[in-house]
């Protein structure tokens, strides 16, 4: 990584992922029963639920298997039309962290990466570096990016390249300090 730049890019540890889609009219009910993330949010320790759309969540867990999560959905959502499917192998997840993370990520998407616009606990399904992604603020200076596994290598290369370039930039827009 470039000199003087505070950024770390690493694959996130293995986690089980379940995509949960719910019939639109029942989405509110489902969110309430399963304590799912509100719009643009990521909530819960384990499993964590990421909001991907008004009828779509991604459940992520380091401890439970996908099958367990799917069963739980079935149990809690009895009578509610939904489809919970294992997506553990469908995504690559990268963790990007460090004091300069917001400036590096601002190269990838037109999201408002200012802390006020994207506080921890936020989840933004978006277009990142040309590919569909969910960007999750896991901490003040810590993000996770979910992309299709086919783009995992690309995204990592892209972030590393961008970080090198960002290290040379005189101006930072999304971290508060002007250097």
């Amino acid at each position: 990584m470039p000199e003087g730049l505070d950024i770390r890019i690493e694959p996130a540890v293995d986690r089980a992922l379940v995509s949960l889609r719910v019939a639109r009219r029942a989405a509110g009910e489902a969110a309430w029963r399963l304590r799912l993330a509100p719009p643009l949010g990521a909530v819960g320790e384990d499993p964590q639920s990421l909001w991907l759309g008004p009828d779509h969540w991604l459940l992520a867990s380091a401890r439970q298997t996908a099958a367990v999560m799917i069963e739980r959905c079935a149990a809690e959502l009895a009578g509610v039309l939904h489809n919970a499917v294992d997506q553990s192998a469908a995504y690559s997840v990268l963790r990007v962290a460090g004091g300069d993370v917001r400036d590096v990520l601002a190269a990838g998407a037109a999201l408002d990466f200012r802390p006020s616009g994207f506080p921890p606990g936020g989840c933004r399904p978006t277009r990142f570096a040309q590919v569909t992604a969910a960007v999750v603020a896991t901490g003040a200076d810590e993000f996770e990016i979910y992309v299709d596994r086919g783009y995992g290598k690309y995204l990592r290369d892209w972030l590393e390249d961008t970080a090198i370039v960002a290290g040379n930039a005189a101006t930072r827009l999304n971290t508060r300090k002007v250097r």
Binding site: P39, G53, P54, H56, A110, P125, R127
Partner: protein, 101 residues
Amino acid sequence: MLTIPCPFCGERDEAEFRYGGEALQEIPQAGASDAEWADYLFNRDNPKGLVHERWCHSYGCNQWFQVVRDTVTHRIHAVYRVGEARPVLDDVDGASADTGG
């Protein structure tokens, strides 16, 4: 470069959306004539002024919704969800002439 307020995600860059053409096209009933069918399939109001159109936040929440946009200024006057009533617009002063509807 448009900034489109997705009713679910808030303002996002145009590049995250897919354009779906004019909204308010009714699929003709069975038995429609070739002319009626062609009118539905191909003809468009294509107004110079306010248009109701469909967009999908395809890189985001993946939802379709309607936008009321001025095709001259590109100003977005309203957005509304599928199934929601068409909004009543009270601030169309800024809209271009030639509105037509």
